[in-house]
């Protein structure tokens, strides 16, 4: 009998641990995050390059949104610096996908290097950098966070999902860098702030 009780306790502890390991965030963001529903004035010009940071499938969604808005864009998920001639702005669709990287045959380090190079080039040539972060429910992935920090800190505008596990991180980046931040409730709502950056 004792042994049974002991086992039940073990199982419950095991279950709780599993849950804790998977919980993306333990406390809700208490303070109110300062966000805009969109940009009051456009900050980016066309043509714009839409590229991925982390090779997740979110890039395709951003591309589709941009196409629906009929914004003059070039979709290059693995854009390199040499593709950036004549471009006026760059949109990073941030999302780390190990499978995506594998598919493209890029290592994580290479991806980071590519992103850094693009950011530097953008800064040098005064391109507008817009970051869109769609990832939401996943537990906080180290690499995902790293990429968000890498790109977000240097952006001119950040768009994210409200209620996602990245919300706090994005809020911090926005506040520290004085970067305008928009958090939308649903993926489709990204349309409005995205458009507001261009027109």
């Amino acid at each position: 009998m004792k042994r049974n009780v002991f086992r039940i306790v073990l199982i419950i502890i095991f279950a709780l641990l599993l849950v804790l390991v998977n919980m993306p965030y333990t406390k809700k963001v208490e303070k109110m995050v300062f966000t805009l529903p969109g940009l009051p004035r456009p900050i980016a010009e066309v043509p714009v390059v839409i590229t991925s940071a982390g090779q997740s499938t979110d890039t395709y969604i951003i591309n589709d949104i941009s196409n629906q808005l009929m914004i003059r864009s070039f979709f290059m998920p693995q854009a390199e610096v040499e593709h950036m001639e004549d471009m006026k702005s760059i949109v990073f669709a941030v999302g780390y996908s190990s499978l995506g990287l594998k598919l493209q045959g890029i290592s994580y380090e290479d991806e980071k290097t590519r992103i850094e190079k693009l950011i530097n080039m953008a800064k040098d040539n005064k391109l507008t950098i817009i970051t869109v972060v769609l990832g939401g429910e996943q537990p906080i992935d180290e690499r995902n966070e790293e990429i968000i920090r890498l790109v977000g800190a240097q952006s001119d505008y950040i768009i994210g999902l409200r209620g996602s596990s990245n919300e706090e991180l994005l809020a911090d980046l926005a506040e520290n860098g004085n970067i305008p931040l928009t958090l939308v409730r649903k993926v489709k709502d990204i349309s409005v702030p995205f458009a507001s950056a261009f027109r």
Partner: protein
């Protein structure tokens, strides 16, 4: 599955099965590598879905994803189960501990795999599926010991649970939080197809789970049925045998009583015959009467031997020989008989009349067998053997072909139009009396038949050497 079958698995095949288990585990771990292209295809389908706005591709992508994950999980699971249940562990630990060990090791394997190959696994759904699989496994394996059936049930459970991962409805409950399922969900939400995803998820989850349980139940009841059928079959056979035996016995009893009734007229014949003999002491009539007396005795003996089929007596070997010689006329000039009986042969414990019959059958065969020599020679030897005596009957007839040597024991087999019953009958009688009979033959050279009869010392309980007629009923008597 009887205890003996299980023993076979445990004793004879443990290494094979353990090796199989390891192989499965390795396959499971390497699964992402083998199916890398399919994984890539999933991403391309998601892209297609977004570009065309058609959420149908998402469903295809989910199906692909779920198949891959579930088969991988099932393979890992089967491997672990094979290992655990075929080693010492299963006998040393209690079932629950085995359960926990399986749980932990499978979770561990999945986690290792995801670390090494960076293709993520879903903790919550896999865990739930694992628990249910192990539960079903306990139920199923105990009954059927069939790994193929376990595999069929398990793959359904895993497949069902994987579908929960692509349902946006279950996102808050920690399902589908890794990379690929999450991409599917968010693309679905973007395309306003979250209801479709939810519905499809349910549409696969519910039937497959139900099916898994039903399959398990079916397998269990099937194996139970088979078991019952086997038992029934055996029982039926037993019953049939018993009935046949009962019938046989009944018939036998009837015949016995009939034969017993034959004795009465025999007594009359005997009595009147001795009267006749005493009236006519000389002349042909006396000879005839004596012969009638002999025949009556013979008949009486036969009746007795039939009635006392299973009765055996302690007998001198020489008595047997006398009895046989009395039965068999050996006057043929063309046959040279040579009879050699050893001295001091041990007593034998047999049914005299029947054994005599058997030996006579063999002798008759030797007598009628064709011979290429000018005269036939038949040797009749009786020698001491280990634990008994050997009766050796040798002839120089044309012999028996090697190919036919086994056929001679078959009922109805005859090379010269006899009934074909002699040798089989003889074999049966000799074996009933705990003896053996062997035939060695060479073409044109002759045939040697060796009969072994055990000595009386081998038998503890035996009746005295009373005259047969006075013997009471012995043997089976169904009252």
């Amino acid at each position: 599955m009887t205890v003996s079958q299980r023993k076979i698995i445990e004793n004879i095949f443990p290494t094979t099965i353990a090796a199989g288990g390891v192989l499965l585990i390795i396959t499971g771990m390497l699964f992402p590598v083998f199916f890398q292209n399919t994984w890539f295809n999933i991403i391309m389908k998601i892209r297609e879905a977004i570009t065309t706005g058609d959420s149908g591709h998402l469903i295809l992508a989910s199906a692909s994803l779920n198949c891959l994950s579930s088969i991988q999980s099932t393979v890992l699971y089967m491997g672990t189960i094979l290992l655990i249940f075929n080693t010492e562990l299963s006998s040393r630990l209690k079932p629950l501990d085995v359960f926990l060990v399986s749980l932990v090791s499978i979770v561990f394997l999945h986690w290792m795999d995801s670390l090494i190959f960076e293709i993520p696994w879903e903790p919550v759904s896999t865990l739930l599926a694992l628990i249910i699989s192990l539960f079903l496994f306990e139920k199923l394996f105990v009954e059927t010991y069939n790994f193929v059936q376990v595999f069929i049930v398990t793959v359904q459970v895993f497949f069902a649970f994987q579908w929960l991962n692509i349902m946006p409805y279950f996102s808050p409950y920690l399902f589908g939080r890794r990379d690929v399922p999450y991409s599917v969900k968010i693309s679905g939400i973007y395309l306003n197809a979250d209801t479709v995803l939810n519905f499809t998820g349910f549409a696969f989850f519910i039937p497959f789970i139900i099916s898994a349980f039903i399959t398990a139940t079916l397998f269990i009841s099937y194996s139970r049925n088979l078991q019952m059928m086997k038992e029934n079959h055996i029982k039926e056979n037993e019953i049939r045998d018993m009935r046949a035996k009962a019938l046989e016995n009944r018939i036998y009893q009837e015949v016995k009583s009939l034969v017993h009734d034959l004795k009465t007229p025999l007594v009359t014949i005997r009595g009147l015959n001795s009267l006749t003999l005493s009236e006519n002491e000389n002349g042909k009539l006396a000879e005839y009467s004596e012969r009638i007396e002999n025949s009556v005795t013979k008949m009486s003996d036969m009746i007795s031997s039939f009635l006392y089929e299973y009765s055996r007596q302690k007998l001198k070997a020489s008595d047997l020989i006398s009895y046989i010689r009395a039965q068999l006329p050996l006057e043929d000039e063309k046959i040279r008989f040579s009879i050699n009986i050893e001295e001091d042969l041990p007593d034998i414990y047999i049914n005299k009349i029947r054994i005599a019959r058997a030996v006579i059958n063999v002798l008759e065969n030797a007598i009628v067998v064709p011979c290429k020599h000018s005269y036939k020679m038949i040797n009749f030897d009786m020698r001491r053997a280990e634990k008994g005596i050997n009766i050796i009957i040798k002839d120089n007839g044309i012999g028996i072909d090697e190919s036919n040597l086994t056929k001679i024991w078959e009922i109805g087999y005859s090379t010269n139009n006899t009934s074909g019953l002699g040798l089989p009958f003889a074999k049966r009688i000799i074996e009933d009396n705990a003896g053996t009979i062997e035939v060695v033959s060479q073409r044109d050279f002759g045939t040697t038949v060796t009969i072994f009869l055990p000595s009386a010392d081998n038998f503890e309980d035996y009746g005295g050497g009373e005259a047969i007629e006075n013997k009471q009923y012995a043997g089976n008597c169904n009252n």
